[in-house]
């Protein structure tokens, strides 16, 4: 018994080992596609876990734990490689500007339900300066919706702008005609964008985030519903909104693969959209603009949050 306790004391409570074991568990949880909400959180924090692992490497070096620091950096390398290789649909970027044919500029902005309407003037200024073709708003109050209506002169087409919206619904405004708009119970709005005589299917969605088992299951149901919508469309498609997933998550990579949608993620130019009160490099990107394989991303950036807990995501696509 005494020997066992001494062994536990030597292994678990050796300087740096508690953090080291926690790091290993976090890495393991992060690479699972788990249906348990608490484990699922780790999968979205892959980049933060990696930064933590690198910091831990220096702490272990400082403590003169040579072998532990070697294992730590080795795990970091495997972990980073797995994150980079797991999302094969996260590299749809157009670097050669001479290949740009037509451009489409989009903004996806989760305004936050509690955001004061006084911030709308700044939001409007941002939209006017960015000159998007399509803007998607989510989590807006009815007072904010009244303010959004003032954008009608710039964006004459919309997905039922005058109808009252639920907090998780999306509102899409467009400079180009929208047809066959459908808003359904899963907080999904589908519409067809008519652009240069071609039709592009636009899907706006706010995926629920599971703080409880029930809501998490609802979010998984929404994802399978989205898969059905995407597989039933034979047109080019753009899916945008607050997906409550990051590109380091296995669930996100699997979703892209199954729907054959693409995006671009850069770990050099980080575009975190949540939470807006943290610096860009500490946040995560949970708002996304995904597209079918005829599109390529030219620009991806974020702007100020204007009182929201999200930053707006601004994307320019070539098609």
């Amino acid at each position: 018994m005494k020997d066992n306790l001494a062994f536990i004391d030597r292994t678990v409570f050796k300087e740096g080992n508690i953090l080291f074991f926690f790091f290993l568990i976090a890495c393991f949880f992060s690479r699972l596609d788990s249906k348990i909400f608490f484990i699922d959180i780790f999968s979205h924090l892959g980049f933060q876990i990696l930064i933590g692992g690198i910091l831990l490497f220096f702490i272990l070096l400082f403590l003169k734990r040579f072998w532990a620091s070697v294992i730590c950096i080795f795990v970091c390398i495997i972990f980073a490689t797995d994150i980079l290789l797991s999302c094969s649909h996260c590299n749809a970027v157009l670097k050669d500007r001479s290949q740009i044919r037509n451009k489409l500029r989009l903004i996806s902005f989760n305004i936050s339900y509690e955001n004061s309407v006084e911030n709308f003037n700044n939001i409007r200024e941002m939209i006017l300066s960015e000159k998007p073709d399509i803007v998607q708003f989510q989590e807006f109050s009815s007072q904010m919706q009244d303010k959004i209506k003032t954008l009608r002169s710039i964006f004459p087409y919309s997905t039922e702008l005058n109808k009252p919206k639920n907090p998780f619904d999306s509102l899409i405004l467009s400079k180009h005609p929208l047809t066959n708009t459908k808003v359904d119970d899963n907080h999904v709005v589908t519409t067809n964008l008519i652009l240069n005589e071609a039709e592009i299917s636009i899907v706006g969605i706010h995926l629920l985030v599971g703080g409880s088992k029930k809501v998490f299951n609802d979010a998984l149901q929404q994802i399978s519903y989205l898969k059905t919508i995407v597989s039933n469309t034979n047109k080019n498609l753009i899916l945008l909104g607050d997906l409550n997933m990051t590109s380091t998550s296995k669930r996100f990579a699997k979703f892209l693969k199954e729907t054959n949608l693409y995006t671009y993620t850069s770990y050099k130019n980080i575009t975190s959209t949540w939470p807006a009160f943290l610096p860009n490099f500490l946040g995560i990107q949970i708002d996304h603009i995904l597209f079918s394989n005829n599109f390529k991303m030219i620009i991806k950036k974020t702007s100020n949050s204007f009182g929201s807990v999200h930053r707006p995501l601004i994307v320019e696509l070539s098609y």
Partner: protein, 56 residues
């Protein structure tokens, strides 16, 4: 003694990280429930308005 203090700091870091994750989860859960209540209220209002509209 120094060794035990370091252990305590390590445990504290782990507890703080788990605490932040749990708190964020609870806040999100609370907000989602609130929004879903708003959804239900909104649907009831819509039904009521539709009923009024059909009546007259």
């Amino acid at each position: 003694m120094k060794h035990r203090v370091f252990n305590l700091i390590e445990l504290l870091i782990v507890v703080v990280i788990i605490g932040i994750l749990t708190t964020v989860g609870m806040i999100i859960s609370y907000k989602t429930d609130k929004f879903q209540d708003l959804n239900k209220k909104f649907d009831r209002q819509k039904e009521y308005k539709e009923r009024l509209y059909n009546q007259g």
